[in-house]
């Protein structure tokens, strides 16, 4: 079963990501902030990471930059799930290694379709 890491300081967002992707047959592991996300990514192997941008302790960009340096994560798809929609923020995310950008709230069906393509 494919594993997905969901990183967000919002309980309701993590719940909805887990619910949506769990129904689609993925195993979802939750992290409450960037640091927690980084620790979990290092401890296990994930096929895809979905992360918020603005989080306490470590934001999404910082976490993503650190994750890309971990063994086996150079090409792992990482999707940013955030309320931010400004072009500069997207550019920063792309620069840091993001595979895609989703402005909250996400479309459940479309998210599953994209993940199915990214994680084969």
């Amino acid at each position: 079963m494919r594993r997905i890491l969901s990183v967000d300081d919002s309980t309701s967002i993590r719940q909805m990501v887990s619910f949506t992707l769990g129904k689609a047959g993925y195993e979802v592991v939750e992290a409450v902030d960037g640091k927690d996300g980084l620790d979990k990514a290092g401890a296990g192997k994930f096929d895809l990471i979905i992360t918020d941008l603005n989080m306490p302790n470590m934001d999404g960009i910082q976490m993503m930059t650190a994750v890309r340096k971990l063994p086996g994560y150079a090409f792992t798809p990482i999707l940013m799930l955030t309320t931010e929609s400004q072009a500069e923020k997207k550019a920063a995310g792309r620069q840091a290694g993001a595979t895609g950008w989703i402005v909250k709230p996400f479309n459940a069906d479309q998210l599953i379709t994209v993940i199915q393509k990214l994680v084969k």
């Binding site: 967000d8 919002s10 309980t11 309701s12 967002i13 719940q15 909805m16 619910f19 949506t20 129904k23 941008l53 603005n54 999707l79 955030t82 309320t83 931010e84 929609s85 400004q86 997207k90 792309r94 993001a98 595979t99 895609g100 950008w101 989703i102 402005v103 909250k104 709230p105 996400f106 479309n107 459940a108 069906d109 479309q110 998210l111 994209v114």
Partner: protein, 579 residues
């Protein structure tokens, strides 16, 4: 501006911040509960859809779909079965009617033969008298007298037997004609009734099947509906997180305003800019709060609507499929039972007819034997005639009486010949009747019933499958009802959570009132305060922490005195943008 004004701003803003904090904690808890409830709801919806899918699969199964053509085939076979028997019965009635005519002819034959028997008896007596009169000369004619006597007795016996049998047969035929005449109208009525009953049964089955055929499409529509509602609920629950952040930004805005009024941050501008900044900031936060309030109302309403929609789709017409299928089975079974009863009655009836026609064959056999005897007698009479004429001619004038007797015998022989021909004709007619009757009886044979029996077997099997399908559908529907009941309990919990959320967000008005009061006081202190702030500077100051485009739009509308932007409600959510 007085020092008292600065204190008045900080205090209410701190209180407002506290209110918003309490509100955020409460809503976080409630939304968590809503999300968990929703997950449970979605789980039940999945269960119900699986059960509905099983019902649809059952409905689409060949065994259910084949019921209509099987019942149609049964109807056609039953119709043909009854119509063939109807025609055969009419034919048999006609046959026995003709047989009555043949019996009439046979009666006339036997009467003619009886007269001849009497005449030959008289001739025998005359011959004996003449033989006695002729003495030794007439000894050669003794045999003639014996022959004539024997002939007379033999014919009499034969006639009596035929007459007796003919009379018995006549009685039997009359009885049969009466029965058949009574039976025909009943048969016609049965055929007409079968037509009507089968048409009704087919109409019911067709109607049920039409409804059933809509089940798969209805199910698929239901699945799509539920998927939409679930997507809507997922979106709405996520939107809470956005409003949580927006509330945090308002709290940050209040802190910034309070700091600007109380601290040294703006000391270089002095009181001149503190009030306009505070006024602008308060205006911005009020606009943000109104927008947040509207957004919250939208997503709370969406959650309620979506969860209600899930429940509505789940409690669907699928539940009624089991009873509908069972109704169909009952109708068809009733028709099958009726046809089976008709078949049994027809079997008993055909056995009676078989007996009747057996009598016809016996008659034909008897008449055949009689005819053979008649032909033999004819031959003998011809020989007698011939011999007696020759012997009489040898005697010359002494045998003139014998010659007269011989001539009488010749006349008798000619009459007998005619009567024998009549018997032959009657025999031919009987043969035709027997052949026709045998052909008619084919309609009552086992082979003729085979098609109906085959249709009955297939329909019976089909109905057993249908019964099984109905029982299965009913069982699934029962489980659906249980799951729907559980969903309703969960929906009720969401309802109470919704009420608590509504109560929480009523506190928005309290905060808005407090903030409006502070702003009004600022305006009272400095009536020109709203013209003295720089919108661009304020935008840069207060939007630093903003993360959503909506917040920026609201801020711009607040600073420029424009109408509040409409809070956009997205039901489906946003797509992924891949780099």
């Amino acid at each position: 501006m007085s020092i008292a004004t600065k204190i008045d701003v900080a205090g209410p803003l701190k209180k407002a911040t506290g209110e918003l904090q309490a509100l955020a904690i409460t809503t976080e808890t409630e939304i968590g509960a809503v999300a968990r409830t929703f997950e449970g709801l979605a789980g039940y919806a999945d269960t119900i859809m699986l059960l509905a899918a099983a019902i649809v699969e059952c409905v689409e199964n060949e065994s259910v779909r084949s019921v209509l053509p099987k019942v149609q085939a049964l109807g056609a076979a039953a119709r043909q079965f009854m119509e063939e028997r109807l025609q055969a019965t009419a034919g048999i009635l006609e046959t026995v009617t003709k047989e009555v005519n043949v019996l009439g002819e046979l009666s006339r034959v036997t009467q003619g033969q009886a007269a001849i028997a009497i005449e030959t008896k008289a001739l025998s007596v005359l011959t004996n008298i003449e033989v006695a009169h002729l003495g030794d000369v007439g000894a050669g004619f003794q045999y003639l007298a014996r022959e004539l006597a024997g002939f007379s007795k033999s014919v009499t016996d034969d006639i009596q037997e035929l007459a007796r049998h003919t009379e018995v047969r006549r009685t039997a035929i009359e009885d049969t004609r009466r029965v058949l005449s009574d039976e025909l109208p009943c048969l016609r009525e049965s055929v007409a009734r079968i037509e009507v009953d089968l048409a009704n049964a087919l109409a019911t089955v067709e109607s049920s099947l039409t409804q059933l055929s809509g089940a798969p499409a209805q199910f698929r529509s239901g699945v799509e509906d539920i998927a939409r509602q679930i997507a809507g609920a997922v979106t709405a629950i996520q939107t809470h997180d956005i409003t949580r952040q927006q509330i945090e930004h308002v709290q940050e805005g209040f802190a910034l305003i309070a700091a600007g009024m109380c601290g040294d941050e703006y000391s270089s501008d002095g009181d001149d800019q503190a009030l306009p900044r505070a006024y602008a900031g308060l205006t911005i936060q009020m606009y943000q709060l109104r927008t947040i309030k509207e957004t919250v109302a939208n997503w709370a309403s969406q959650i309620r609507t979506c969860m209600g929609g899930i429940l509505k789709v789940s409690a669907s017409d699928m539940v009624g499929i089991g009873p509908m299928v069972l109704e169909q089975e009952r109708n068809a079974s009733s028709q099958l039972a009726q046809i089976e009863r008709l078949e049994r009655e027809s079997q008993a009836y055909s056995e009676r007819i078989q007996g009747t026609l057996g009598g016809l064959s016996s008659l034909m056999q008897l008449v055949g034997e009689h005819l053979q005897k008649s032909k033999s007698v004819r031959h003998r009479l011809q020989l007698l005639t011939f011999n007696s004429i020759i012997e009489a001619s040898h005697l010359g004038t002494q045998a003139h009486v014998i010659l007269a007797i011989a001539k009488s015998i010749k006349g008798v022989s000619a009459d007998w010949g005619q009567i024998t021909d009549q018997s032959g004709n009657a025999m031919q007619e009987l043969m035709v009747l027997v052949k026709h009757a045998n052909e008619l009886m084919e309609a009552f044979s086992e082979a003729a019933s085979e098609k109906l029996r085959e249709a009955q077997v297939q329909t019976r099997t089909s109905l057993e499958n249908l019964r099984t399908a109905a029982a299965f559908a009913a069982q699934q529907a029962q489980e659906m009802k249980v799951a729907t009941g559980r969903m309703q309990d969960k929906i009720a919990k969401v309802g109470s959570t919704g009420d608590q959320l509504d109560a929480c967000f009523d506190r928005f008005d309290v905060v808005l009132t407090e903030v409006e009061e502070v702003r009004r006081q600022l305006e009272m202190d400095d009536p020109g305060v709203k013209q003295r702030y720089d919108p661009d500077e304020m935008e840069q100051l207060f939007s630093a922490s903003y993360t959503t485009e909506m917040e920026r739009e609201v801020l711009r509308a607040a600073l420029r005195g424009k109408a509040l932007p409409v809070a956009q409600q997205t039901v489906a959510g946003n797509s992924v943008e891949l780099f």
